[in-house]
């Protein structure tokens, strides 16, 4: 199970926030990845700011990406504002990419 979650996390690195040009994992937008039942994934995510204009696009991108995996048929993407995103949630790679952007 952990292996599958890691694979999902790895795949999500192909989904970028187009404004920042950094993937959603390194940006720290992915809060939880869960596989509650076989071939189903649940992703709990946030955005850098509530009311982000790319809200729907990024959430849909995450859904398409996970459902595109051969191990998953259905992905449920849920958005939360609690706790709110902070820059501390970014990975070192994310911080490096952002500073150099």
């Amino acid at each position: 199970m952990t292996e599958l979650k890691d694979k999902i996390r790895g795949n999500l690195k192909t989904v970028i926030d187009p404004e920042l040009n950094i993937n959603v994992v390194d940006l720290g937008l992915i809060y939880e990845i869960d596989v509650p039942e076989p071939r189903t994934a649940r992703i709990l995510m946030t955005l850098t700011t509530p009311g982000c204009p790319l809200h729907d696009s990024i959430a849909s991108g995450i859904k398409y990406c996970v459902q595109g995996m051969e191990e998953i048929d259905h992905a449920d993407v849920q958005l939360t504002w609690e706790p709110a995103w902070t820059p501390d949630r970014m990975t070192e790679d994310g911080k490096r990419l952002l500073q150099g952007f």
Binding site: E19, D56, A59, L79, T80, F101
Partner: protein
């Protein structure tokens, strides 16, 4: 705690239609100003060609851009879908017909501008109604709602006073108050509508484009209260003719603007994104210009010279604060609109471009320099009343308008 995707995207055709029409109006309005430079330089503003150019610029360009942007930004900034998209397309058709016929009537037969003016009013009323219905369903109103709501109310008052002016011209109605109504019309159309709207959306866009977190929002209500009080006091000065109220009103506007400028600096200081992109920097530059213009207005009023400075100050206000802000933000908004239309269904499936790849950043610097130099020369030509300088300055603005339209059009080819 959990919230599903809200489905707040607007049909791209709606904001794009507004923006497309606005770019034509921008070029035409600037050409009209270029062709009537001799009148402007001699201080003659109240002429059909100038009225037509001013309304094409303010209504045809700035208002149409603001409407288009709001159709996109209000749903995402307030997390509330547009009340009725179909109604939006009707509003687009009526407003466009209204502005085209109104500008043409002002140019050709100002005394017959009433019916086109009413058509424009209807289009704007439809827009205000659309936004009112949209904002009404917002779950939790905030300070942005206050800025945007008051801006919309100012827009309604501006257009109502504009119709009153046309009626007064035609029938003599309220002619003894003509000057006060005229000044209030200009004040609410510039300061009340555009400034409050730009303040409100800046509070959304500045943190977003700089990725700022951990900044306070406490100064925002003070910005609103002081700036709004300045508007009310200035209107009172127009009604009473009191110079003291005029000085106090301009001081309040200047103070409110300075608190806003300081607040934006606080937000920028808390940014995570260290290198800001050029269009966004241009929008921030516009805030600096706005602060200087507000100071000049207050200083002019304190020296009892405001009536002589009004023309150049309004021109600078419209170009260096309002237009520069809109241009800076539009440079960001249009690629976002097109990206959403073209790539929002592709993200997660294949590699998609970043927004930065969709706008021509190489052309940004020459464009912004052209607008800034053009505006500076234009302003200078008003002071020293020299036609060649006017033609060079306004010529640069016309070329800038064409180049900007080209850059905007180019986005949709990516």
């Amino acid at each position: 705690m959990f919230q599903h995707s809200s489905g707040n995207e607007t049909n791209i055709k709606l904001p794009f239609s507004f923006i497309g029409f606005s770019m034509l109006a921008l070029i035409l309005s600037q050409l009209l100003i270029l062709l009537n430079g001799d009148l402007l330089i001699s201080g003659v503003f109240r002429l059909p060609a100038i009225w037509s150019a001013a309304h094409l610029f303010v209504l045809g360009w700035a208002l149409m851009v603001a409407m288009g942007a709001m159709y996109q930004l209000v749903p995402v900034a307030f997390l509330t879908p547009i009340w009725n998209e179909k109604f939006g397309f009707w509003q687009l058709a009526i407003t466009t017909a209204g502005i085209v016929s109104f500008s043409a009537a002002l140019y050709l037969r100002p005394q017959d501008a009433l019916i086109p003016g009413i058509l424009t009013l209807l289009g704007i009323l439809m827009f205000i109604f659309q936004m009112f219905m949209t904002l009404k369903s917002q779950a939790k109103p905030n300070i942005l709602t206050l800025f945007v709501g008051t801006a919309l109310f100012s827009l309604l008052a501006t257009i109502s006073l504009g119709i009153t002016l046309v009626m007064s011209m035609k029938t003599g109605f309220a002619s003894e108050y003509y000057q006060a109504i005229f000044k209030t019309h200009i004040l609410l159309g510039t300061v009340g509508w555009f400034s409050l709207l730009i303040f409100g959306f800046s509070y959304k866009m500045v943190p977003m484009f700089s990725l700022s977190h951990g900044y306070p929002m406490k100064p925002a209500p003070y910005v609103f209260a002081i700036y709004f009080a300045g508007i009310i006091i200035l209107i009172a000065s127009f009604m009473t003719g009191s110079h003291l109220l005029e000085v106090l009103g301009t001081l309040m506007l200047f103070s409110g603007f300075m608190i806003f400028t300081w607040h934006v600096k606080m937000i920028i200081d808390k940014r995570v994104k260290k290198k800001l992109d050029r269009p966004f920097m241009f929008a921030l530059f516009a805030i600096g210009c706005g602060a200087l213009i507000h100071f000049a207005t207050f200083a002019g009023s304190a020296a009892n010279l405001l009536s002589k400075m009004a023309g150049p100050i309004i021109l600078l206000y419209l170009i260096a604060w309002i237009a520069f802000s809109i241009i800076g933000y539009l440079y960001k908004i249009v690629p976002f609109l097109w990206w959403t239309h073209k790539y929002s269904k592709e993200i997660g499936k294949k590699k998609v471009p970043a927004l930065k790849d969709m706008m021509d950043e190489k052309l940004a610097l020459p464009l912004f320099l052209m607008f800034t130099a053009g505006t500076t020369l234009l302003f200078l030509s008003f002071i020293i009343k020299l036609m060649p300088i006017f033609y060079v300055g306004q010529g640069l603005i016309v070329i800038g308008a064409v180049l900007f339209s080209y850059i905007i059009a180019k986005v949709v080819t990516i």
